[in-house]
Assembly symmetry: C2
Homo-oligomer: 553 residues x 2
């Protein structure tokens, strides 16, 4: 028998999103979470990325299950892609599976996979692993911490969490069970670092209620609340406060409608009969009896809020008497877009309630004092910060070292692809696998090749010129003037004659080509590519991608 466990993160370390960790003992392996990420390459047509699951092939016969901590896209979104490779049972909560089923259905996988519904405190044994699902608190409902007993020791994986004693929906975090594991002895705590730079405690989901009550009391006209569709506690608060102030709620935006439907059907939302109304009903109602609960808090151009702010969304447009509540954090990278969106709405005279001005949003992630509570409950031998950019992981380390007195050698910083080996006494990175990411086109669930994105970046930066040479296969001479097609190249347009002179320059260069070049298409194309490149740079300063094409007729 081996006396080690291995922890191999495939994503979520040194980045936000793509959370996925492998846990291995002997020839058995669990996949913990399977999340997608949102890459910086969105300017190049890439909205989503996932870990490269090619690595799973080598463990194909070892993988026994996929365990999901909760249903956010950065923990669940890559599930179909894993299952397409390796069809093993999935263990997750009621609500997480509700979201998973909807996703698997989109991928045509729903009938083909085994989904195990587990409850908090359920204990499941899968080979050498015994997993207890422990109630976590987070911005989503029905989330788990995992306590995984292995022959080498117990691994606790926090998933995403904060310490919320008073969530809106369901029971609070189960610190009691975490403490029980702490007393029994925990080998390693894999712990959420998202908010490790934030001092203090993260407020309870309930903390935003007073501000919502004030806003509803003040508003004279319609109220429009933009929130993350997955913030189920927040949605419940909007429903409750609307009920309290005799307003009806109209849910708008595809993901918002989907999540409300799933959460309602599974019994997580408590929506009074008659509270929900359709868009057409709202048009007959007095303005002060309506709430719109909408997508688009990140200023996504196709989402409901942006459409209402800039034009008309299903007959609704933002007006002077509206109160707009932006009940969400700004995801880094979206600052400019959101500020612009707010500007549009101010221009229409609406009353805008921004996060930061009133307590209308709280984070779902553990701040430093939450991390203290978690770490002191679990009392792990090793702390392994996960979920976050390096900056957060290092600040997590710094906090537990300086404020909890955990010695440096018991805090382990790893990277995606690292094979972290734990033998009960010692933690060491013993190997490094390649941990790549794969770009996905969300419309067709298709992979976008790296090379494709690289080409797009190059073209986006300086444009592209295609050079077509048509050569007579008998005479070896140009059959017609070289064709030069420029796209996105500065300084070149149909009028300014540069294309014409470039054609002459290429034709002349062709005339000067050596015998070797004339005989070898590769040499000839490269020679003329460089000639054209030099010409364009000299004439315009531009340095576009140049693609030469040679056809013989």
């Amino acid at each position: 028998m081996p006396n080690v466990v291995e922890i191999i993160p495939l994503g979520g370390i040194g980045e936000f999103g793509m959370n996925c960790t492998l846990l291995r003992f002997g020839d058995e392996m669990l996949v913990l979470d399977a999340g997608m990420g949102f890459p910086e390459e969105s300017a190049y047509g890439v909205d989503v990325c996932i870990p490269d699951f090619e690595i799973l092939e080598q463990y194909r016969n070892d993988i026994t299950a996929i365990i999901l901590t909760h249903g956010h896209e950065d923990h669940l979104g890559a599930l179909p892609y894993v299952l397409k490779r390796i069809n093993v049972p999935v263990y997750a909560s009621h609500f997480t599976l509700g979201l998973a089923e909807s996703k698997l259905d989109e991928h045509g996988l729903l009938g083909d996979v085994l989904l195990h519904r587990v409850e908090p405190r359920d204990v499941v044994t899968i080979g050498s692993f015994t997993i207890e699902f422990i109630r976590a608190s987070h911005s989503l409902v029905d989330c788990f911490h995992l306590a995984i007993k292995t022959p080498v020791g117990t691994i606790v994986h926090t998933g995403d969490y904060k310490v919320d004693e008073t969530p809106v929906i369901g029971e609070p975090i189960d610190l009691r069970t975490l403490r029980r594991y702490g007393q029994e002895g925990v080998l390693a705590l894999l712990s959420d670092s998202t908010n490790a730079t934030v001092p203090g405690r993260t407020p309870s989901e309930r903390a935003v209620i007073p501000a919502f009550e004030e806003i509803f009391a003040e508003a004279q006209g319609r109220i429009i609340v933009a929130a993350f569709a997955s913030s189920i506690h927040r949605l419940q608060i909007v429903f409750d406060v609307a009920q309290q102030f005799d307003r009806k709620v109209c849910v708008l935006g595809r993901s918002m409608q989907k999540n409300v439907e799933i959460a309602d059907r599974l019994g997580y939302l408590d929506i009074h009969d008659g509270l929900l109304v359709g868009i057409n009903e709202t048009k007959m109602m007095p303005a002060n009896e309506v709430v719109f609960l909408v997508t688009g808090s990140q200023a996504e151009p196709r989402a409901a809020l942006y459409q209402m702010a800039t034009q008309v969304y299903k007959g609704i447009t933002i007006e002077e008497t509206d109160t707009v509540v932006l009940s969400a954090r700004i995801i880094p990278g979206n600052e400019r877009g959101i500020s612009k969106l707010i500007g549009f709405m101010y221009k229409r005279g609406a009353n805008i309630i921004e996060e930061k001005r009133r307590l209308i949003h709280v984070s779902g992630h553990a701040s430093q004092e939450d991390i203290r509570i978690m770490t002191e409950a679990v009392r792990p031998k090793f702390v392994v910060p996960i979920h976050g950019e390096y900056r957060m992981l290092f600040r997590h380390k710094e906090f537990v070292k300086n404020h909890l007195g955990i010695p440096e050698h018991r805090i382990v910083l790893i990277e995606n692809g690292d094979v972290l080996e734990l033998d009960g006494e010692r933690a060491a990175v013993v190997d490094k696998k390649e941990a790549k990411r794969i770009f996905i086109d969300e419309t067709g669930f298709e992979e976008i090749e790296y090379e494709t994105v690289r080409e797009r970046k190059k073209m986006a930066y300086e444009g592209i010129v295609t050079l077509v040479l048509t050569v007579n296969h008998e005479s070896g001479q140009l059959e017609t003037a070289p064709q030069i097609i420029a796209n996105g190249v500065r300084g070149i347009d149909a009028q300014n004659g540069i294309i014409k002179s470039a054609q002459s320059a290429v034709a002349e260069a062709f005339g000067r080509a050596s015998k070797a070049q004339l005989e070898d298409p590769t040499l000839l194309k490269e020679y003329l590519r460089l000639e054209l490149k030099r010409f364009i740079q000299a004439r315009t300063g531009a340095r576009p991608v140049i693609t030469p094409v040679l056809q013989r007729i």
Copy 2:
């Protein structure tokens, strides 16, 4: 004689940057500031934009001078482009002209323009305008507010400012003179809105000294301070604290070296003899005697800090014993990049002092209580918020309305291109000019056409396919198979045979072309473009740009 003045902002309203405002009385016009902006299109090879100065052509004979409030790029950067169109005298401070000269020199304009150096309290009469230059406080030195007497009334333009009674360099803001104008009567206050969302007072430039002293006292190894090269007060603090702690300073990065050189030469910086050292000297010195003052606080990949953090910059690389001080705010849009950069430096074990953790950066712009002080000093008939996105302009309006009791009709929100007419009693937008922006390629100071950037965006999003048809001019038939060249298109590669079948599909479609299409190249190209588009979309789901080319031989 007319009894109105017109205010026409060309930039800086509803956006950050490109600050430029025209002030007109009769047939006389002043240009107030000429700034560049930093567009969101940086993913498409565009780093800089300027207002479209085409509009100045219609006022060609009226423009009498350009007045600069200060030397930041968003107020000064477009100066060469204005002067290339209309060569009029420029009025600015000693230091602003120092920066302007360097810029005009790069554009080869230095000998050809008239630069008037003015001092605080100088009063200059230009035709019907009498301009007093009033000392402002800001993160840069030698900045002005402008009080411009016109026959209709006095216009006060704040430029960028905060109310700093204890700047590091030079005298504090001249509130006395502003109050004098307030007592005499001010028609309109054009007022900086950058920080209008921020409650309270903006701290003095001096406020960061204690944190720097603590950091220098604690650091055992080298200290690396990253700051904006234009934050001259900040640079002075670094020099002073270095001197105090017996460290030498090595200035790294092109813009940092340039600004230190200019500020030192013009007497704005007070640098002790022997304080500055070259990079090679630092390599001989003990680590605890060195400070590097570097560019790259925004994680610009080519700047000194990024290079030191990720590889080697002039022999320097960030090490475990280094202390790195990020003494700058995060410009919106740069969050992800900066967080990554910080992660790289943590990975190298350095001690990173981030803004927000210690008071190592203060803003140069007026917060709400600064706005109160300014507005109460100037007591304008009309408040015109400028400099900022709409969100800031509206919050500025809201603040002076709700907290200073200025009635709504005396707060005028305008947009770029608006012609705001003031007749002494009434403010009204009477006309709207087209206010466009022009993209500039900074390497060659060349304009990049809108159409070019639009093409780049389209290609970046889904790639491009070029279709080359070679038709025999006698037979009207294809001379060879259509050439299809794909760049950045997902699902198409050299191996998978899609290009080959696309060629057949286009050839077949050509065979089905109507007589009209065969006779009209435009019709034929459009017909085959659509055929190819449909084919690619059906086979791959991709929707690239398709450029058809038809050559007859």
